[in-house]
Amino acid sequence: MKDWSIKEISSLLREKKTSSVEITTDYLQQIKKKNPEINAFITVDESRSLAQAKLADQRIQSGEGDVFTGIPIAQKDIFCAENWLTTCGSKMLHNFVAPYDATVVKKFNEVGAVNLGKTNMDEFAMGSSNETSYFGAVKNPWDLSRVPGGSSGGSAAAIAARMCPGATATDTGGSIRQPASLCGLTGLKPTYGLVSRYGMIAFASSLDQAGPMAKSSEDCAMMMNVMAGFDTKDSTSIDHKKEDYTKNIDQSIEGLKIGLPKEYFAEGLDGDVAKVIEAAIDQYKKLGATIVDISLPNTNLSIPVYYVLAPAEASSNLSRYDGVRFGHRTSQYDDLMDMYCKTRQEGFGEEVKRRILIGTYVLSAGYYDAYYLKAQQIRHLISEDFKKAFQSCDVIMGPTAPSTAFKANEKIDDPVTMYLQDIYTIATNLAGLPGMSIPAGFVNKLPVGIQIIGNYFDEARMLNVAHEFQKATDWHKAIPEGALS
């Protein structure tokens, strides 16, 4: 097994030095070898992947191929893929074979990409450790006793263990960036509305956003070229002009103004992680960037605001799982009410139920103004903080997560501690801003990610800023011990 990047596979395929069938076979073998201990995939279907690879090879042979034709990637199991089991990590959907493709999946199919399988995730994307999946916890390839982060932990672990060169992921409060940080990967959560949510199973609709995860910024840019785009089937999709995210990725960043929010370096941040981030900032100075001290004063409020808004939206979105039209239905019931209540008792895991209850509570009569309305007002303040900050800088940087990967079972019984994992990532979802995590170094052999937050629709610049760092450093090239053996 070779450690290919998406860009390298694309060149090799175009130069006809290899075929999609050959590359896909390599990855399927790697999945067979590594997945039993990592548990990054929920569904793998070799014959379907290989059939897609054969078609891609025909397209390349006839000269019709796109730069992405024949490239195998994995899809987070939150995206509906026609005739593929699509579980969202839940017992509720353990038998749900999607009858249609999500727009993201359709776009990858159209360019001739190969689907290697569906990756494991926290149930309904609710979690920061990948321990809430009905299909079992995912292990971090850097240390099997630790979590890969969540909720896109399956996608992250699959790439880190070299079972795929890239994967789709989603981010509601940090679910792309935090696992990318904990697994030593590059992940981008785009501006809200840039990538279609159609066919992406809803958690908190005003915060959910899909994005790419891969080993480098260049590979994420190539994936973004496929994923981004206006979609009439998503009511909050934004009609933004089509961009080529690879075009200016090589530009110098001389003169770039980097804002460092003092709140992101305050109490709660691990001291060794802070040192890694400071060293990365020094590297940026060497690349010609200047540093601006900024403040995001409402950072600490982002967690309470999120844990009102996200559960409120979730309680409403998840009301569709009633055992009538698809998914799990309880086997024994007295009447319709009993069927609903037992189906949902059995189908949802503990964390999902907890969030539905919180959401139902904050939306219930008498509490709406005190919780939901108040949270939306503070969301406005958080968004204004960023607006002000971007008047004095081009991008904002800081840690992605307060620590490196923590031990399995360490935080699962204490939801509040688990929620604090997302302290640096949640505010960008609330504001709808794009955020990225790239590898910046190691603490005790565990990866640390630095976060890059951009202004609305500034993904091309962020990818450029990340790529320039990756040209000067090797952190993103590190491979977990034994991954290729």
């Binding site: 809200y192 605001v305 698809f326 009993d338 949902r344 219930s364 503070i378």
Partner: protein, 95 residues
């Protein structure tokens, strides 16, 4: 802000989730912790601040009122727990 055992049973019913006495007790402690976290919002004066529902201030798009979808009843009902004669089957609601 504290929540009671009975309130948990009430919201579980509103959310259509069956909950045992033991589960309600277990939920009580954890939900109280989360509600305490949320209480931090109370410290902020939000008078005269407009609520923000969405990240981008765009209005809902409209489309022409024409049929765009085809009938896929059979395909969509294939994954249902129980159907009969093209209808979804649930326990009898009206005597």
């Amino acid at each position: 802000m504290s929540i009671t055992h009975d309130e948990i049973k009430k919201i579980a019913h509103l959310a259509r989730i069956k909950i045992t006495e033991e589960e309600a007790d277990a939920a009580l402690k954890k939900l109280s912790g989360i509600l305490n976290l949320i209480e931090d919002m109370k410290k902020v004066d939000t008078s005269n601040i407009s609520p923000m529902a969405h990240a981008q201030s765009v209005s809902q798009r409209l489309r022409d009122d024409v049929v765009t979808e085809t009938n896929q009843r059979e395909k969509l009902q294939k994954i249902a727990p129980e159907v009969s004669g093209g209808l979804y089957i649930v326990p009898q609601v009206i005597e």
